[in-house]
């Protein structure tokens, strides 16, 4: 999405904020805020450290599995709710509740059900990401033009063909939008899960850094995480751009 | 064709009537695209003039330049001798998409122009009620726009333009978003309204029938770039039953003649 034609200069203001950060850091005004250059240096060192690399592998693995599960379950559930009224009636309320509920409160439950390890993190990612995927898929399926479905029927499409060749594709823009939002929520889920479990991946690193007031490393880790979240959203948006013409053509 | 005065040379128009709006040498370009080229027109006081042409002829652009909503690349517009540099109190605009505030009642929508001018609430409500009655919406004062049909919404838009008591009313395809039956009724009402109002109307439309039905003068614009190709003054008696006009020979002849002229621009 291009916004009013000046996307790049707008994000450039982040550089201004980095400079302001550097100045505030150099002046030693806030004890928790080291200069930005120190943070960058720390980030550089951090990336080379084995503890960061291990944590990243753990985090990425949990994230990927959780998201894969959320997509694998979310899309069929969304299609089910989009096509079958009774499923929508019975499940819709709960999906909507969980999509906007404070899911962080559920993480302690995950911890006792799945133990203090990777499985809890995977479950947290899944729980944060799945609902929005269901909702968007449902919305996409709902918006499939009825005449498109009638067309497929009149040319003798079987039920599986109808779903595989018409509905899934016609709903693709919304499904991808749901996946993108699910990914962003999944990043939040992995971080919240790891912070609460506190002995896995980035959560353990955050715990160490903030407990020992190693602020440069704390901020470095934060920036890496933020950059990662942005990168993921960017990637999925590239894919979305490729199917955008569907959305345009459907109007 | 004796009854239909057709002037072939638009640049040499001199109406005996006093012109209230004068358009001189208006040009408008968007980047490399030339939308309007050297438009020269006079709009006589108290008459209804239609700007008619196929899509892309710049008729709405010209209307918005007269309204002062967009600037021209060259040329000038004067209203009552004063040069237009922006919207003014002597002109009121009726929008194609109605432009009604969905959060406001019919009464407040109609009174909005007066509200912006700082007219007191009691006074502006009274004026608004009067014009709501004139456009035939009495009893709907406290309804919201979404409760009205397209035709009724545009009546609100018209009442709003009438209530600010501007001398010139600018109507941008006001009936294009109104369904066929309502449009016809609305056209009849418009004929009645303007005989009572004695205001100058400038009316943009792409419907030949509509233009011939309601206009004193029709300015035909040709597309790419928009130029004045013809000015027609249909001589139709509108005093009697409005339904009769549709069967009037002059009406039918004029419609046919304009269609023959416009045909070349339709792909």
């Amino acid at each position: 999405m291009t916004l009013f034609g000046y996307r790049i200069p707008m994000m450039a203001s982040l550089l201004v904020w980095c400079v302001a950060w550097e100045i505030v850091g150099r002046l030693d005004l806030v004890f928790l805020l080291p200069p930005f250059s120190d943070v960058l240096a720390a980030a550089f060192q951090l990336v080379q450290s084995p503890s960061w690399q291990d944590a990243t592998v753990t985090t990425l693995r949990a994230f990927t599995i959780g998201i894969a599960l959320a997509i694998a379950l979310g899309i069929p559930l969304g299609i089910l709710m989009g096509r079958i009224k009774i499923a929508d009636d019975l499940l819709g309320m709960w999906v909507n509740i969980f999509a906007s509920a404070p899911l962080s409160a559920l993480v302690p439950v995950l911890m006792i059900l799945f133990g203090f390890g990777e499985r809890t993190i995977i479950a947290a990612v899944f729980l944060f990401a799945v609902w929005i995927i269901v909702l968007d898929t449902r919305a996409g399926v709902r918006h499939v033009s009825p005449s498109l479905i009638e067309m497929a029927r009149s040319y003798g499409a079987t039920k599986p063909a109808l779903y595989a060749k018409i509905i899934l594709w016609a709903a693709l823009p919304e499904i991808l939008a749901g996946i993108r939002l699910g990914l962003i929520r999944g990043v939040k889920g992995v971080v919240i899960g790891q912070l609460l479990v506190a002995i896995v991946g980035y959560g353990a690193l955050f715990e160490t850094f903030s407990r020992n007031f190693r602020m440069a490393e704390f901020w470095a880790l934060t920036i890496i995480l933020f950059a990662f979240a942005m990168l993921i959203a960017e990637l999925i948006e590239r894919i979305e751009g490729k199917v955008e013409y569907y959305a345009g053509a459907r109007q | 064709m004796a009854v239909t005065a057709v002037r072939e040379k638009p640049s040499a128009i001199h109406t005996s009537l006093e012109a209230i709006v004068e358009v001189k040498g208006i040009c408008k370009s968007y980047g490399n695209v030339e939308a309007l080229r050297d438009i020269n027109l006079d709009f006589p006081r108290g008459k209804l003039t239609s700007l008619l042409g196929p899509s892309g002829c710049g008729k709405t652009t010209l209307l918005k330049i007269i309204a002062g909503l967009i600037g021209a690349s060259a040329g000038s517009v004067t209203v009552d001798g004063k040069r237009v540099s922006g919207p003014g109190p002597e002109r009121a605009f009726v929008f194609q998409d109605f432009a009604l505030m969905p959060w406001a009642t019919v009464l407040r929508n109609v009174a909005f122009g007066l509200e912006l001018r700082g007219t007191g609430k009691a006074e502006r409500d009274e004026i608004a009620r009067r014009y709501i009655a004139q456009v035939g919406l009495s009893g709907f004062e406290d309804k919201y726009p979404h409760e009205l049909s397209g035709g009724m919404r545009q009546r609100v838009g018209l009442a709003r333009a009438l209530s600010v008591d501007a001398e010139v009313l600018l109507l941008d395809e006001p009936f294009s978003a109104v369904d066929e039956q309502n449009r016809r009724k609305f056209q009849e009402d418009l004929i009645r309204l303007r005989s009572a109002q004695n205001k100058t109307f400038i009316f943009v439309t792409h419907s030949i029938e509509e233009a011939v039905y309601i206009s004193d003068r029709i300015v035909l614009l040709s597309p790419r770039p928009g130029r004045v190709s013809q000015v027609i003054e249909p001589d139709i008696d509108r005093s009697g039953d409005p339904d009769r006009i549709h069967r009037d020979k002059h009406y039918l002849d004029t419609v046919e003649e304009i269609w023959q002229g416009l045909k070349q621009y339709v792909e």
Partner: protein, 275 residues
């Protein structure tokens, strides 16, 4: 950095289809279906608890009993008193600050350029990582919790307000100009009324985010309130009490969101009534 502007669309994306769905559905659905849906949920929970799927999975009936127990012994009301204060304060501050910043950014190109990218980053990024830090700086009191609420709620509110103000109906702006509206009149009579539904939807999302913030702050460090009640009962293996507490906060958050939607329809947008 194409992402970042796109990420901002999450705000309205969630605001319009999803949340209006939430409450819209909860309201419009025939009451019987909703009851069946609740009964079904409770039934599955009860069965899963009786099997049991895990030693740490109480039945629905035990959880309900535990809920009334917690209310009776006063521990849940006390916990809510401590949780709701920073939550309400944080949301009120975020609402005023967020709507203010959003309007300024929507109207001023400079404000937009300077501030919107920051909020886009904060919206897309896992800001929960800051909460431990906040607790270190401000201790374990009310201040830390309020700030935790604000860092989660503010970006959504700012971005929704900003987007609402930027996307005001163009034809109403032209209409206001043609009737000689001044800039101030345009802002107060067209921009703000037209933007108010999306702004309000942003506030609703802000409230949802605020719940996450306060629970997270309490779970992570601050040993007070609902978060503490959850942690305490987990440590004593009182699973029914723990589940009851968690269910109560999720229910409270849902009811709050539905209530806000109801207010929006009744008070803010009278023209929606009866449609």
């Amino acid at each position: 950095m194409a992402t970042n502007i796109r990420a901002e669309s999450e705000a309205t994306h969630l605001a319009l289809p999803v949340s209006s769905d939430t409450a819209g559905r909860l309201r419009d659905r025939p009451i019987i279906l909703r009851l069946v849906s609740i009964a079904l949920f409770a039934g599955i929970w009860e069965i899963a608890g009786r099997i049991p799927v895990s030693f740490a999975f109480p039945t629905f009936s035990d959880t309900i009993a535990a809920f009334f127990g917690l209310i009776a012994d006063g521990s849940m009301p006390t916990a809510y008193l401590s949780t709701l204060q920073p939550l309400v304060l944080g949301i009120l501050l975020s609402a005023f600050l967020g709507v203010g910043i959003g309007i300024v950014c929507g109207l001023s190109r400079t404000g937009e350029w300077l501030l919107i990218p920051v909020f886009i980053v904060l919206q897309a990024a896992p800001v929960a990582a800051f909460i431990p830090l906040v607790t270190f700086v401000y201790g374990i009191g009310m201040t830390a919790k309020t700030i935790a609420v604000m860092i989660l709620a503010l970006p959504v509110i700012v971005l929704n307000t900003y987007k609402a103000v930027r996307n005001v109906n163009e034809s109403l702006l032209v209409m206001c100009r043609s009737f000689l509206g001044t800039r101030w009149q345009t802002i107060t009579r067209i921009v703000l009324p037209d933007a108010s539904p999306v702004i309000f939807a942003g506030l609703r999302l802000g409230v949802a985010a605020g719940f996450v913030g306060v629970v997270l702050a309490e779970l992570l460090i601050t040993p007070t309130g609902i978060g503490d009640l959850i942690t305490f009962h987990r440590s004593r293996a009182d699973y029914a009490e723990m589940y009851a507490t968690i269910a109560s906060i999720i229910a409270l958050s849902t009811l709050t969101l539905v209530f806000l939607q109801w207010i929006e329809v009744r008070v803010f947008r009278p023209e929606k009534r009866g449609t």
